[in-house]
Amino acid sequence: MYAQMVDTGQSRLPEPAELSADERAFQARIDADVKIEPRDDMPEAYRRTLIRQIQQHAHSEVVGMLPEGNWITRAPSLQRKATLMAKVQDEAGHGLYLYCAAETLGTSRDRMIDDLHAGRVRYSSIFNYPTLTWADIGTIGWLVDGAAIMNQIPLCRCSFGPYARAMIRVCKEESFHQRQGFDILMTLCRGTAEQKAMAQDALDRWWWPSLMMFGPPDAESVHSAQSARWKIKLLSNDELRQRYVDQTVPQAEYLGLAIPDPKLAWNGERGHYDFGEIDWREFHEVLKGNGPCNHDRIATRIKAWEDGAWVREAAVAHAAKRAARELEAA
């Protein structure tokens, strides 16, 4: 997902008896669905895990602006251009809300950005794939935003107040993103043969990476279990992935597009779609930095940040000058 494989700093899940009195009291509050607020007592591991998770999520929003931004200048109609600009702008806003939520835990945005640029904190694997045609923009809205919404709706109920509130805001704004993506694809699929082929090609390239977004099966992951206990991960990766496949297949059928998985089939017994094996080797390579666009994405972010340094510095310098002048005049 936008925050994949978040490290909780735990090597195994502690037994209840091993917890300190404070930790037990904290867990009791979580179990009672009490929201944790920034100034409340919290275990250090909870705080650090949340900083990691929220900033991964924030970085994903910000890096995620780039593949779509790649088509703003080439959007094929003025309406599509306006919609895409507004959508990518929303993503900047989502990154901003999330950075602010993480900041309540005692980190700073600059420090988080530094972590991103130095490769110490990841962003979602999905944004390391290229947007090659206009159909990719529709497909990102449909598949990637669809997967994101699926993950973010449960997070509106997560245990940390600022994160939950940011998610509520994000979900409210996000609802148009998936629709605009599907709308692009509907238009392409009803269009010329060339347009329809463009849509199919995009689905062929994005399908598997979108399934990887949910992360590897977490049945045996200590981190997932700990995060679930803390209620900062509400559903398992496989659960979400299954829901996503079940929801998406009929949408693809409506578009008349073929999902590139020969093993995809309805399983009446389970009441779910069965689907093929995900190539987790590819996923881990992309996370390690070997995806088609990892280098470009980070290089673009670093350049933007460095090019903007003089602007940020000057604004602070001006504010200081002005404050000094006002003090003098008073």
Binding site: E37, R39, D40, D41, A86, Q89, D90, G93, L96, Y97, C100, E103, S108, R109, D110, R111, I113, D114, R165, A166, R169, E173, A309, R312, E313, A315, V316, H318, A319, R322, A323
Partner: protein
């Protein structure tokens, strides 16, 4: 990372309609108050969410401490006579 040039954090309060109180909606970074208001307009009112904006530096907000929660708020719990439902009224008496 250039230390010391990070823009300060501001808390943003928006009045969504005339007659309602300003409500905390989130935070943002800005070098000064004027820009904080402008940024708040662009970040938090893109979908007609507001008719008025307040901003305050996060550092200037003073908050009650979670440790004092019981001392501050528990005493109000047993003062039920502050609520009108504490005083049952006969059905035939109107406008009370």
């Amino acid at each position: 990372m250039s230390a010391g040039t990070e823009w300060p954090l501001w808390e943003v309060f928006i009045r969504s309609q005339h007659g309602l109180a300003h409500r905390h909606v989130g935070s943002l970074h800005a070098p000064d108050a004027a820009m904080a208001i402008r940024n708040a307009r662009d970040v938090y009112t893109r979908r007609n969410e507001g008719v008025s904006i307040w901003v305050a530096r996060s550092a200037d907000l003073h908050a009650s401490s979670p440790d004092e929660r019981d001392a501050l708020f528990d005493p109000a719990q047993d003062k039920v006579y502050r609520h009108p439902t504490f005083f049952p009224m006969p059905d035939e008496v109107k406008h009370l």
